[in-house]
Assembly symmetry: C2
Homo-oligomer: 352 residues x 2
């Protein structure tokens, strides 16, 4: 087996994450890392990883077929373009860049050079996400009409470039891009019709430190995505409503359950006291018509991401994270910012 | 003390609720009930309550100073107007009527006749709501920037006129009007800027069987209201976010807690594994910077509603549920339907 030589550009949190994994994978070999911060290059050397002397040195290294770009978001574009022009394949960390216009330039270079150009949407393989998809796709709850996808932190935005607009900071570009890619990927051929969003600025004036968005798809599905960072009590990671049941996935460890109704039409109920009134409508179901089931846990297998990259480079397989998907996701992000700024619903026009 | 004679018109679920309570109150006396359904009149007689022979007989009864209108929503208007023209004061069940235009006609009659005209927004006195308000107004969480108010059932719409559009059915007019009145009342002088909403039709094509709405207020507060009826697992009744803490009120029995941060700036964290990645941003706080507190439970005291009615009728007090509030709430309801129909954000223009 030919091992593919990889260099990691930007040796921060995610750069380190890639370098660690590449070092352990059979099909890849870590040629070295580059970072503008000399301290990180020292750290690399201490871990037995080759530190490059410059980005040009990375590009000139014939052992490198693939670059992983894990720098701040605003420099993905020039680095990816330079890499492709130098005959290197590239994986960009997410978000691939900050606008559809910039992405189109990058994609044009990919097409021109024939290089692989993709983005690391690793969270398509998160166990919680694939479990949620399994519930929906195996029709465990009947037709699903509502999905709520939340991540909630309590520390604002971490204290580095992620706080700065010029670097593509903020939560829409950080966790948002994952959760939005998840929403779009599972609705790959279900047209997105419209987008409503508002952003928060609780801890940071410059960048959004959170956002709420409602997506309406052509088949009637509504999909809520929330990323917030001033929450000291959290709501579940996933809340899923189907015609015949509901599911909750509490966290990344897949705590949660499904509750299914096996006798929908048996809806008679004794009104219950609710505050200063009574309610039949909101009286809870009794055990005779519903039952709980464990979550149909699924494992994502993140390694498949790099496996696909290998297959693309060695046998012409189709890349999993496609240019079309990258563009659709950035277009959605632009719609979210526009919706929040103008306080209006943005009609989403699918490209195809 | 002069007892005020009350007749209840519409002797169904809520009519029975009023009749029971009026029968027990010191300041009021139940003169009788009227319903178009003879079986209900028989039931009233069996309970020792006088059944009237017709609505005209109610209006002609000199012992009756106050009518409670608890009929289907679409006939509140003609009955309220007829009552006021006959010299009777009226409490309408909610929603007072189905459009701002109709309400304006009703209010004009109230002004012309000098009769009391109000609506039974009893849920302003729900313990969960007044507890939530206490948290906000006593600044327990620091400035509150987000309130989420949900009620979630699992039986669709109860099987009577509430399913029919012509009668003013659907969840916006049913539970919605309560939760929206709550949202507006606590923001009585905080202008509502805009409204986004979508409705569901999971179990019913004719009427909405649920809705989601996002309200944006002038001071930056966003307030989410959800009423849904196909949920077999429920989210908390209230979810409240402040700058220095979060609160959850799970249910009408006031289960829940507040979690407060006492050292906001101590945000260093060890990245945690989250799915296929790592996260510092979403790493949970450790106990050294946060602590839990019990909810500052408050009791609403629904009796105050009828107490105010008595004071209005005997000593010229100002009615608690005002014409302005009734109009603002109906205007919001119209905005919700318009937003849902047009899939757009509706700018809300306050009257004053």
């Amino acid at each position: 087996m030919t091992k593919i030589g990889v260099a990691v550009v930007g040796y921060g949190g995610m750069g380190g994450w890639h370098a660690d994994r590449i070092g352990k994978m059979e099909k890849f070999t870590l040629a070295g890392v580059w970072d503008t911060d000399p301290a990180r290059l020292v750290a690399a050397r201490e871990r037995g990883i080759r530190p490059y002397g410059s980005f040009e040195e990375v590009l000139a290294d014939e052992n490198v077929r693939l670059l992983v770009i894990a720098t701040p978001n605003d420099v993905h574009k020039p680095l990816c373009i330079a890499a492709m022009r130098a005959g290197k394949n590239v994986i960009s960390e997410k978000p691939v860049t900050l606008s559809v216009r910039d992405l189109d330039e990058m994609t044009a270079v990919a097409e021109e050079t024939g290089m692989l150009f993709t983005v690391h949407q690793n969270r398509r393989w998160d166990d919680d996400y694939v479990t949620m998809r399994r519930i929906v796709e195996e029709n465990r709850l009947g037709r699903v009409f509502r999905i709520e996808s939340r991540v909630q932190g309590s520390r604002g935005i971490p204290g580095d470039w992620r706080k700065e607009k010029g670097h593509g900071g903020g939560m829409v570009f950080d966790w948002g891009v994952h959760l939005l890619d998840q929403a779009l990927t599972m609705n790959d051929r279900n047209p997105l019709c419209s987008v409503y969003a508002h952003v928060t600025h609780i801890t940071n004036d410059e960048c959004d430190d959170g956002f709420y968005t409602e997506l309406r798809f052509a088949d009637g599905l509504t999909y809520m995505v929330e990323v917030t960072t001033n929450n000291f009590i959290t709501l579940p990671r996933w809340y899923i409503l189907g015609e015949n049941g509901s599911a909750v996935i509490e966290d990344w460890d897949l705590n949660g359950k499904m509750t299914l109704v096996h006798d929908w039409d048996k809806i008679d109920s004794v009104p219950v006291k609710a505050g200063t009134g009574i309610t039949k409508t909101m009286a809870p179901r009794t055990d005779e018509t519903i039952h709980d089931e464990p979550l149909p846990k699924a494992h994502g297998g993140w390694e498949q991401y790099y496996g696909n990259i290998y297959d693309v480079l060695t046998s012409g397989a189709v890349q999993t994270v496609t240019h079309r998907q990258m563009r659709r996701c950035l277009k959605l992000i632009e719609a979210i910012f526009r919706s929040a700024e103008t306080d209006s619903v943005i009609k989403f026009e699918e490209d195809d």
